[in-house]
């Protein structure tokens, strides 16, 4: 068995490390630092690793293989995929480094590392259909983090488990059904069935409207820090996996109606997310709608892959992660400083007077996700809005409604944060600044990063366009 392979470094090693972290989970700080160090090293290594996998160290050359064979099946991580791997481990690092501050589960470091390694394996496994079972394993591991200690298991987590389990057979059956039908005419019934099964499977996985009902329920009960990490990883990895499937199978990408179907699914999901967000009165649930809207944008971008959607997708990955990080960090920090805040609008009234930087950070992260000019996601969203409007006028009013819904929620939140209700129990708290210098620094730094991403996308975001190099059939090099 050849162990000098890329999957050994970025899949097997982190899995072994996560097992070690499970063994030392009682030493919480040590396990967090080890998870941070491991994730950072893996991210940096993936980023600087030569594309031809020929690594030189101390005058010696080490040629790594990109394929790890296991029971006649393979895990393949090519040089061009390593940027995606670097990004996933960077996310793991970012969530672990700040996780120390919040009272999340002791298992977070080990499970987050295992989840990252398993998501990398879904992108590496060949044939692709085995990824369905790996995703199911990730879901089963995730639910341990998503259920808060000392509370009854909520129906959100159960629906999540059911929904993701039902998705698995769709992907497995589609893989079996279309095996070796590359040469069949595109109108073949088998191809049509296979395509429908794959799309339903992805719709269940990604919580595409109307299959999203579990998401707000889960967000309400889970810790925002854990929820944002798990669903950022899921959203990012599954979107890249969908691109990989489309790139790999000509029968799927050449089937008439696949890309328009993806466009409509994306538009309807972000419309539903926007409209439902506008009606919310609990900030904990908003994270679910934000993820839903961003999933809608990702699917729309994949649907518009021939009209610049690919670039928009790649440009959105880092700013989106940063916005989720900022929102969940701020919300977790607020709930840690004032534990009586339960996430309802009533409990947040007048918060600006007590925690001005936190309140501003909440609003900035939402404005970033809305696509406000000068913030990180604007370049990607502008491309999508233009591409969507250029393709058909049907999308424009729906996209406008979705953005308006989100904007309405932000205005309501600003009003709540600024208004002091004399009857509110939180009003009885002494009006004093409880924000530490460190918290203020972190929140200001993240806001500054978001601004830099938005103002200088060509410097900070253009390197992410390299993620698309893997998809040579879908986006042929010009």
């Amino acid at each position: 068995m050849n162990l000098m392979t890329t999957p050994t470094i970025w899949i097997l090693f982190p899995l072994l490390l996560s097992i070690l972290l499970i063994a030392i989970h009682r030493l919480h700080k040590l396990s967090i630092w080890l998870a941070c160090l491991g994730s950072l090293l893996l991210a940096v290594a993936a980023f600087i690793f030569p594309q031809n996998l020929d690594f030189s160290l101390g005058g010696r050359n080490f040629l790594f293989d990109d394929t790890f064979l296991i029971l006649n099946r393979s895990l393949t991580l090519t040089g061009s995929q390593l940027r995606t791997v670097a990004m996933l481990y960077l996310f793991s690092f970012l969530w672990n480094i700040a996780g120390l501050r919040f009272s999340v589960s002791r298992w977070f470091p080990s499970i987050s590392l295992a989840i990252t390694a398993l998501w990398v394996s879904t992108l590496a496994v060949d044939p692709f259909l085995y990824a369905a079972l790996i995703v199911e394993l990730i879901v089963l591991i995730s639910v341990l983090l998503l259920t808060p200690r000392g509370e009854q298991t909520g129906s959100g987590v159960m629906r999540y488990l059911v929904s993701q389990t039902i998705a698995m057979p769709f992907i497995l059956l589609s893989g079996w059904m279309v095996a070796g039908i590359e040469s069949a005419p595109s109108a073949s019934t088998l191809i049509l069935r296979g395509a429908v099964l794959i799309l339903i499977g992805f719709a269940l996985w990604l919580a595409i409207f109307p299959l999203h009902s579990w998401m707000p329920m889960l967000a309400e009960k889970s810790h925002p820090w854990v929820f944002s990490f798990i669903f950022l990883m899921q959203q990012t990895s599954l979107s890249i996996f969908l691109l990989k499937v489309l790139d790999q199978f000509a029968w799927l990408r050449n089937l008439a109606g696949v890309f328009p179907a993806l466009q409509w699914a994306g538009v309807l999901t972000l419309l539903a997310g926007g409209v439902l967000a506008s009606l919310q009165t609990k900030v904990n649930r908003i994270l679910a709608y934000m993820i839903m809207i961003e999933t809608g944008y990702s699917v729309l971008a994949i649907g518009l892959i021939g009209q610049g959607g690919g670039e928009a997708f790649a440009l959105s990955l880092l700013p989106r992660a940063l916005a989720y990080w900022q929102w969940s960090y701020t919300l977790s920090s607020i709930q840690q400083i004032e534990p009586e805040i339960d996430g309802s609008f009533t409990s947040l009234q007048g918060l600006f007077a007590r925690l001005p930087i936190h309140s501003t950070s909440l609003i900035i992260s939402l404005l970033g996700l809305l696509g406000l000019p000068a913030l990180g996601l604007f370049p990607a969203k502008r491309m999508l809005w233009n591409s969507g409007a250029g393709l058909t006028f049907h999308y424009t009013p729906l996209l406008g409604l979705a953005v308006a819904g989100m904007a309405l929620f932000i205005i309501r939140l600003i009003h709540t944060l600024l208004t002091t209700n004399l009857q509110s129990p939180s009003h009885a708290l002494p009006t004093k600044r409880e924000e530490s210098v460190w918290q203020i620094f972190v929140l200001c730094f993240v806001t500054l990063l978001s601004l830099l991403f938005g103002i200088f996308p060509h410097i900070f975001l253009n390197p992410f366009l390299g993620l698309l190099e893997t998809f040579i059939h879908l986006l042929p090099p010009s």
């Binding site: 085995y130 159960m158 488990l161 039902i166 079996w176």
Partner: protein, 199 residues
């Protein structure tokens, strides 16, 4: 195994699954789950070698044992012999169970013709029955034990179907891992529920 024995096995399998859907008595449900895995083993022998089929049986019985031990340690298990009059819910679920069995037997042939010609009709009936019962159980119940039984039933149905279509050792290993993890998650949910009730 001759056709009559295979038919009897499928009937017993669907009966055990129906008991899990209809009856809400933990001891009976766990026994029915064990019986379900034994019948599953006998049916999957048609498409798998005895050794591979035995692995499925062992995993199934381990899953059942894990759930049984969790339920026993939580102190919530009731006597098997406790008399209990059928409730309106049980009568409703019983009617649904009859309907699902009927659908499974009627749809087996059609499914074989239209989508899975290489699978036997009885296997398809068993598989469809398990999938339908599992889906119905998952859709109507929020109690952790029944939800996990529903998920395991659904997975068994799909495993049975997939076993008749394709064979891969990696896939078998992954299915085993998923089944065991599901049982662990189920046990975790049950323990959490008991803890939160006693808190």
């Amino acid at each position: 195994m001759n056709e009559t024995l295979r038919t009897i096995t499928v009937v017993v399998l669907l009966l055990a699954t129906a008991i899990n859907l209809v009856r809400r008595q933990w001891a009976i449900n766990i026994l029915a789950l064990g019986l379900q895995y034994i019948c599953f083993f006998l049916i999957i022998l048609d498409v798998r070698s005895p050794l591979l089929a035995a692995i499925k049986l062992i995993v199934g019985l381990m899953v059942t044992l894990m759930l049984y031990l969790t339920v026993v340690s939580s102190g919530l298990i009731e006597s098997l012999l406790r008399p209990q009059r059928p409730t309106a819910g049980e009568v409703f679920r019983g009617t649904i169970a009859l309907l699902l069995v009927l659908i499974s037997f009627l749809a087996g042939a059609g499914l074989q013709q239209s989508a899975f010609p290489q699978s036997s009709q009885l296997l398809l009936t068993a598989s469809l029955g398990l999938i339908l019962f599992g889906l119905f159980q998952m859709g109507t119940i929020t109690e952790p034990l029944y939800l996990v039984i529903g998920l395991l039933t659904f997975l068994s149905g799909f495993e049975l179907l997939y076993a008749s279509l394709e064979f891969s050792r990696v896939l078998e290993a992954l299915f085993t891992a998923v089944n065991l993890s599901l049982a662990l998650v189920g046990s975790y949910f049950i323990v959490k529920d008991v803890e939160s009730r006693s808190a």
